[in-house]
């Protein structure tokens, strides 16, 4: 099937003082190669203010998980747990940007695909 664009935005507001924004974007280049990008934004406080904002290009190895997240059952429990972990890491000033991005990337990577019996490497 030829590559076609997909853009999914998900916002979860667990409380009045917290908002989590997750975007998944699939774009296609002239050679029909897909690129997946994810942005993750955490807003906290009253009024809500951006605490963390990350833009990550998803590794090719995680493309099936990205596709499954966008077109299947959304974020599972592990992904939502990892999103909270990634948010905590992103707020840690002692952690470098690469590591913050990596933790955010795991939000997609930990998606359990239907045929995956064992836990996905985190």
């Amino acid at each position: 099937m030829p590559c076609r664009p997909i853009h999914v935005n998900l916002e979860v507001d667990p409380s009045a003082t917290q908002k989590i924004l997750l975007s998944l974007d699939k774009t296609c280049d002239a050679n029909d190669q897909a690129t997946w990008k994810m942005s993750f934004e955490l807003l906290e406080g009253k009024p809500l203010a951006t605490v963390v904002k990350l833009n990550v290009e998803i590794d090719a190895e995680n493309h099936p998980q990205a596709e499954a997240t966008a077109a299947s059952k959304g974020l599972d429990n592990n992904q939502q747990g990892q999103a909270k972990i990634a948010a905590a890491i992103a707020k840690d000033p002692t952690v470098g940007d690469d590591d913050k991005e990596d933790a955010a990337q795991q939000v997609i990577a930990v998606k359990r695909l239907p045929q995956t019996a064992a836990p996905v490497n985190a």
Partner: protein
Amino acid sequence: MKPDMRPWRYPTRWIATALLLMVSSSYASPGPCTDKSSDYNGYRVLRVDVKNPIAFITPWGSLSSSLKKGLRLKANAPFSLEGFEEDSAFLSSALKANFSSSHQTVKLSYAGGQILDCDAQARTLRVVYPIFTSVVPSFIAPSIEQQTSESERPATTGATRASERSLLIAPLVGYNQTRRTWGGLTFSDKIAGLQMQGQAEASGNSLSGHFDVVGNNGPVGNLWDHADWAGTFEYVDDPAGAARFKESKVTSRFSASTREFATGRVIIRYGAAIEGGHQQSSATGAALQLTPNSSYGSLKLYVGATGRPGRNAFTASYGLQLGSTFINAAPVFKKHLLDLGYNVNVPVPFRKPLGDTKDFKGPLSTTVHRSLSLETRFTAGLIQDASGTPLAERFLGGNAMRPFVQDGSWLILSNPFIRSIPENQLGAQSGTQLGGSRFYSANATVSFTVWGRPMLPKELATADPRFPGILNAPFHTAALSLANTYKLKDPEYIRVSAAVSAKAVDLNKKLAALSEELKLIPTATAAEPPLARCLKEIKRNLLSTRGAASLIASQPDPQVVDQLVTSLLPALSGFVQELTKGLRDAAQNDLAAQIDRSMTDVNTLGNDIRTADNLPSKKYEDQAWQTLAPGHRAIDVFLHELNIYSVSPVAILDVARVWPVNQGVRYGVGPGLRLSLVNANFTVTYGFNPQRSAQESVGAIFFKLDVTSLF
């Protein structure tokens, strides 16, 4: 007969809808466009469409047309991959920008892009951008009024629930055998959180209207899940046979409903109203014992149950009114009302409703969704000590429904409803017995969809294999998120979480120790490719694992615990096992043993956390799915049952009697037709009156055109 002709609120949007209908029939079947998108650069674009499949439950109905203006690809212009990608991204941004207008816990938007009908010879194609945004209404009572509304206004019920109300002003005009030609105005607006609404109608021989200020409250313990309070001014001046009555009153009302019971999808409703004002009756014969002119006041108490189990909907309501004209000789009258209703809507061919936790799935039909619909109603009333009852409060029947209280979400019929007799004519013809003190009426309406077009665009029904699976994502995400929130707030979880926190503190220390031990690996050994890869994975894992342990130590969260014990720690264990094997191969046995011991301690603590955090999640997930169920059901109905327009033949059968007015049992029977066009519905029936008196006509026509705002 009571035509209710409300002009459409946004003519341009309706013109757009009509145009959509006209042009949609010209779509060819989607042709295969299997090459990569860039191969179509330079093709001429025949059409560009933005398809929003669930406009009916979202405030996005007009979005497709407004967003189209911002697209880079245009009809009759060359196609370019760059423009195609930009347009899809633009639509995504526009949808996301509007998240702020909703207060839902979970919001999802989807924007895609499809290239259809590619013609290599003519070098033409068509571009469709499917878009979707989810809004799950926070309160939808599973009431019979809702199902009736869906049946009569299939495209709008959800929208009415979901959309933010804005200013609506619309003129009304109609004809009624009792009131003759009449005109009026209806309006509604939301100001400072209060709903203001009103309606006024006037004809040569009648005048009526009401103005309401309505507020609402959220859940209060077990008392109610949703409550409305309202202040209302009502005025009515209507003919009733040779007589007429006037009533003006101010009402203060409160009504509430419980949370939906899981079994049977039933809610209990209750309310009270106190009203006071003035009444006049023009026929004051001695036999009638009517008070010509007096003050008037009453207390109304009402209770009922309504629900939508499966494809059925029912209502059962009881109302008690204690009223007085405050004239010494007149006793307090006591009015009792019983109002029962049952509706059922069966798709043809039959299809079971989707379970509340089941996934949306195809195949999706591209032809009209047919259904057989049955609506029934039985109402009865009794007035005790009726001698002091004003004419406006006596029982007068006909083809107009008079509500017991002005409440748009709860109709309790207070008069005999029969579609073969004009308004206020049943019980008002003898001249000596004006208005009854007892009545019953029973009504049945059957309709069957014979022709129409489904709401779902053909492009989404057939051309995009991701649909309707894409709709499952927000529901599953929201259910898990809500379940987690419910669990977090449960005192039982709060109790066990103390032990979880304590173990997480210990785990964090062990993970820190493990991190330090990794630094003891000689640099040369650590640089060897297999170990280097392993160390990289371990460090990546440790970042999240330690982050999870810190989070749990400060505030246990079931989802974080789940991620820690089912994903992060098993993965870490696997990598550490691989690492220590490599270390032993590199003759670092002591260090490998030390790291193994640390990992064993980490695993032990992980197991302790898993054991401590063992409160089953099922009941919270069930609660979450129950919260999401109304939105889930609405989308299921949309996918498999709703039409953008449809035509249904209708048959009616009514029976009614009012005592003591010497009119006997009256019947109404006849055919009709219902046309539904998106959210405009025109229903016309003719009720024959087989036992008519000399004063009555063959029957009465009953029709209405109603439109509910989508926006």
